[in-house]
């Protein structure tokens, strides 16, 4: 089973979800721990569509990826195509964009600009921290189903 956590840029929500899945951080993690994640706020718009292999969970690859505004479209297309191709690919696409809040959105936007990078990163991390329980619930649901 391949776990595919996806959000807009793959820089915040899906990155944290993958870290939660792998136990790199706990649901009780502080903002500093989120900021300390290797791939937090790293992926850029040009990286969209390119998954990052965060690690393995019981031998299953756990990835995160940015799919732009295609968070609803991506799983539909992946399901359709694998079905038509009869490709035996076991995967779970998890839409993390449903856990976005205003601080993460604003922080993610600001962090793209040179002078606001530090502020944006911190704001995005704070936003993610506020919704960490929600993201963890999503991870648990993906693991169980």
């Amino acid at each position: 089973m391949i776990y595919f956590y996806h959000c807009y840029r793959g820089a915040h929500l899906s990155c944290v979800a993958a870290a939660l899945h792998l136990g790199i951080i706990k649901p009780s993690a502080k903002v500093e721990e989120i900021l300390g994640l290797e791939y937090f706020d790293v992926l850029q718009n040009r990286d969209m569509g390119v998954p990052v292999l965060a690690g393995y969970c019981h031998g299953n690859p756990v990835c995160f990826v940015g799919v732009g505004s295609g968070s609803k479209i991506f799983p539909r297309f992946a399901d359709c195509l694998t079905e038509k191709l009869q490709a035996n690919v076991q995967y779970k696409a998890v839409d993390c964009l449903q856990c976005i809040n205003l601080p993460t959105r604003i922080g993610g936007f600001l962090s793209r600009f040179k002078g606001f990078k530090a502020l944006g990163r911190r704001l995005a991390a704070w936003g993610v921290h506020k919704n960490l329980e929600k993201i963890y619930a999503l991870v648990l649901h993906a693991k169980r189903s």
Partner: protein, 123 residues
């Protein structure tokens, strides 16, 4: 053009689902699919997913048709699909498509040539 199956019929909820259009002369299956503005990341992500899942040799040609879109098609599409003003939007989309028709034909011909060349190299 308006009488074509699926022409100006998709809603946001249909995007991402493959629509079977038929078979080409060489026996390939032809599908159409809507991606809104996310075609590049979605296609890239799915290609990577198939590679990661070791789906084997998958013979799929992805053809981006957004490059032939003109302003009439955009306005017509918004009016018809987004605002529900089909009576106004559909003729506009049809007109825009008619204007872009040569470009669409050229795109299809270029794709056919590309597939043929790839098959020849593969043999």
């Amino acid at each position: 053009m308006i009488g074509l199956p699926f022409f100006d019929s998709q809603d946001a909820a249909d995007h991402g689902f493959l629509q079977y259009m038929g078979k080409s002369n060489d026996g390939s299956l032809v599908f159409s699919v809507g991606f809104e503005t996310a075609s590049t990341p979605v296609i890239k992500a799915v290609k990577n997913l198939l590679a990661l899942g070791k789906a084997g040799a998958v013979n799929v040609t992805y053809v981006e048709t957004r490059e032939v879109i003109n302003i009439l098609m955009i306005i017509g599409g918004i009016l018809s699909r987004l605002l529900g003003l089909t009576f106004l939007g559909r003729p506009l989309v049809a007109w825009g498509t008619q204007l872009a028709y040569k470009k669409i034909v050229a795109l299809v011909e270029a794709t056919e040539r590309k597939i043929k060349l790839r098959e020849q190299r593969g043999q």
